[in-house]
């Protein structure tokens, strides 16, 4: 209880949003009486009301139920589209930062190569080659996204490896893997963790964008981007179809951003 009191309000809000999303993902049925895939031809394109707070789409499917049931997939996207590039980038950044020299020079050129292309364009190109679908999207994001984690990790390792506690480890004859994973990694990981949480917000946007373009999650899977894509043809007559899933994306992004910023302060190492 005391821990909660000490946490800053923005972080608490962020965590509350994420907790709610997790609950939606685990038990979507507990929050709405409607079947997200159930057609209701008596309520086609119904405007938001007490019965359907988010309204319904052209098949009479309840949009609140669809938004809630989409949480599982979007949360999965948020996690997988950051964990894979995060792990790969952290490992590469750790090694590049530690060894430096020629390895670092090669890494620098590789980074230049990848960041020359806009992130989204490169991901879309790779997915287009591999074919649409979530798995291919994760592969594409990993191929492009590790660079940002590796860059962060590399610069942090460069700072940490000159710390005198690392010199002490060397004088004590510790092996390189021990120094890298037990000493440098825990001290260098903070910016990466913070970035990863913020990156989850971007991952949701990316997943939604690809879903909207038909390259990510495939209908009838309910995914927030797919929901917006469904609504685009009705935007003038039934704007709620696109508007509410869009709002959900914004709130989810906010949740990750607030949590990320809060974590940054919380993980600050005490000196």
């Amino acid at each position: 209880m005391r821990l909660f009191k000490r946490l800053p309000a923005p972080l608490l809000l962020g965590l509350a949003i994420l907790a709610l999303m997790a609950a939606f993902a685990i038990a979507p049925g507990a929050f709405t009486p409607y079947d997200p895939l159930g057609f209701d031809f008596s309520a086609l394109l119904a405007a938001p009301s007490l019965a359907h707070p988010f309204g319904t789409d052209q098949f009479g499917r309840d949009l609140l139920a669809r938004s809630i049931s989409a949480t599982a997939i979007d949360l999965q996207i948020a996690l997988f589209a950051t964990i894979f590039p995060g792990l790969l980038g952290t490992l590469i950044g750790l090694l590049v930062g530690w060894y430096g020299g020629v390895v670092d020079a090669l890494f620098g050129r590789l980074v230049d190569l990848v960041v020359t292309f806009p992130f989204l364009v490169l991901v879309i190109a790779i997915v287009a080659v591999l074919g649409p679908g979530l798995v291919n999207m994760y592969i594409a994001v990993t191929i492009v996204g590790w660079v940002f984690y590796a860059r962060l990790m590399r610069s942090e390792v460069m700072v940490q490896k000159n710390g005198e506690y690392i010199a002490a480890c060397k004088v004590l004859g510790y092996s390189t893997p021990r120094i890298l994973f037990r000493h440098i990694l825990p001290n260098a990981i903070r910016p990466v963790l913070v970035y990863a949480v913020t990156d989850m917000a971007l991952a949701i946007l990316l997943g939604s964008s690809l879903g909207y373009l038909g390259l990510g999650a495939q209908p009838p899977e309910a995914e927030w981007g797919v929901l917006i894509a469904d609504g685009k043809n009705f935007f003038t007559t039934a704007p709620w179809i696109a508007l509410f899933p869009g709002t959900v994306i914004v709130i989810a992004g906010l949740g990750f951003s607030l949590t990320g910023d809060g974590l940054a302060d919380l993980l600050e190492v005490k000196r």
Partner: protein
């Protein structure tokens, strides 16, 4: 017999060159951190290494524990060559030669408890069986006069002096015979320094340690070392018994250094500075004796000949053509 024997080691660091320097074809520069240093450390003694910034004392210390690899020269420990060691032999060397660092804040891993830091050293080197590690950690803490419950706490919960004790305990964990202490008290407040200095002297007597104490503080060197080596711009200019050197320094630089230290006795106010001039850049050391531009007695020969470290008719070695 000497425990550690250093013969003619040199260490240079290439200086960073800007694009402009490269385009103009300026020659590659190197910092001459340590030049042709030879030194003996005798079993059970405290050897002080003093000098001002850029004199190479810290680089020398780091060469001794192989944090830096010297470019030339040899180091023998207990009669065996050190620089060729690799793998398990090198690890065995690490157990016998330990280091205590200057900065009590950056020399401890902030994310590990004191117990974990000490326990890791014990575990990696199999100093004691695994089950006995907690007991040994308590013994180590007791040895440096810290409370037992320090083991569960993190470095940030301690003051500078207490952290330095933790650093000393970590070095002692592997039961070394030689400790290289690089400015171990210069980051501490005066009132705390005395306690750490006492701890070094006490541990040395209790455990029979050999100590190399690197510092810029001549008062400490005078108080606690048996022998002292004075460094200037990468070279040792004088080495010998501390009391004798402080009583009658032979090298003009040693003389100036001792005179420049303000005494904690009121009333000694001479208007003359002990020595004129600035420390030369180690990127471009003066030819001949590096001290000659500041030396009050330098001759033409001093500008050309690098003086070797020799007895020159005295009881200890000095690198000055005019000594004798």
């Amino acid at each position: 017999m000497s425990l550690l024997s250093v013969r003619g080691i040199s260490k240079r660091f290439p200086a960073r060159r800007g694009m402009v320097d490269m385009l103009r074809g300026r020659p590659k520069l190197a910092v001459h951190a340590v030049e042709q240093v030879s030194l003996e450390v005798f079993r059970g003694e405290t050897l002080g290494i003093v000098g001002e910034s850029g004199c190479g004392k810290s680089t020398l210390a780091r060469c001794l524990v192989r944090l830096h690899e010297p470019d030339a020269g040899a180091i023998d420990f207990d009669g065996a060559d050190v620089l060729g060691l690799a793998g398990p032999e090198r690890r065995a060397f690490n157990r016998r030669v330990q280091m205590v660092f200057q900065d009590p804040y950056s020399s401890l891993n902030p994310r590990m408890t004191v117990g974990a830091t000490l326990g890791e050293a014990l575990m990696v080197h199999n100093v004691v069986p695994k089950a006995e590690i907690p007991r040994r950690v308590r013994e180590l803490l007791d040895l440096v006069h810290l409370m037992e419950n320090a083991a569960e706490r993190y470095p940030h919960e301690f003051s500078g002096g207490q952290r330095q004790r933790i650093g000393i305990a970590r070095a002692l964990a592997v039961e070394p015979s030689l400790i290289i202490a690089d400015e171990p008290v210069s980051a501490l407040d005066v009132s705390v320094q005395a306690a750490i200095v006492n701890l070094f002297m006490e541990l040395q007597d209790r455990l029979g340690l050999t100590l190399v104490f690197i510092t810029h503080d001549l008062r400490l060197v005078k108080h606690m070392t048996h022998r002292v080596a004075v460094m200037y711009l990468g070279r040792i200019v004088e080495v010998g018994p501390t009391a004798e050197i402080f009583a009658a320094p032979r090298h003009p630089y040693t003389q100036a250094l001792i005179r420049a230290v303000p005494q904690v006795k009121p009333g000694r106010r001479s208007g003359e500075a002990a020595v004129m001039g600035e420390l030369p850049s180690p990127l471009n050391p003066p030819p001949g004796c590096a001290f000659h531009p500041r030396c009050p007695v330098a001759t033409a020969a001093c500008r050309e000949t690098v003086p070797g470290l020799e007895a020159r008719g005295g009881a200890w070695d000095v690198a000055c053509l005019l000594a004798g």
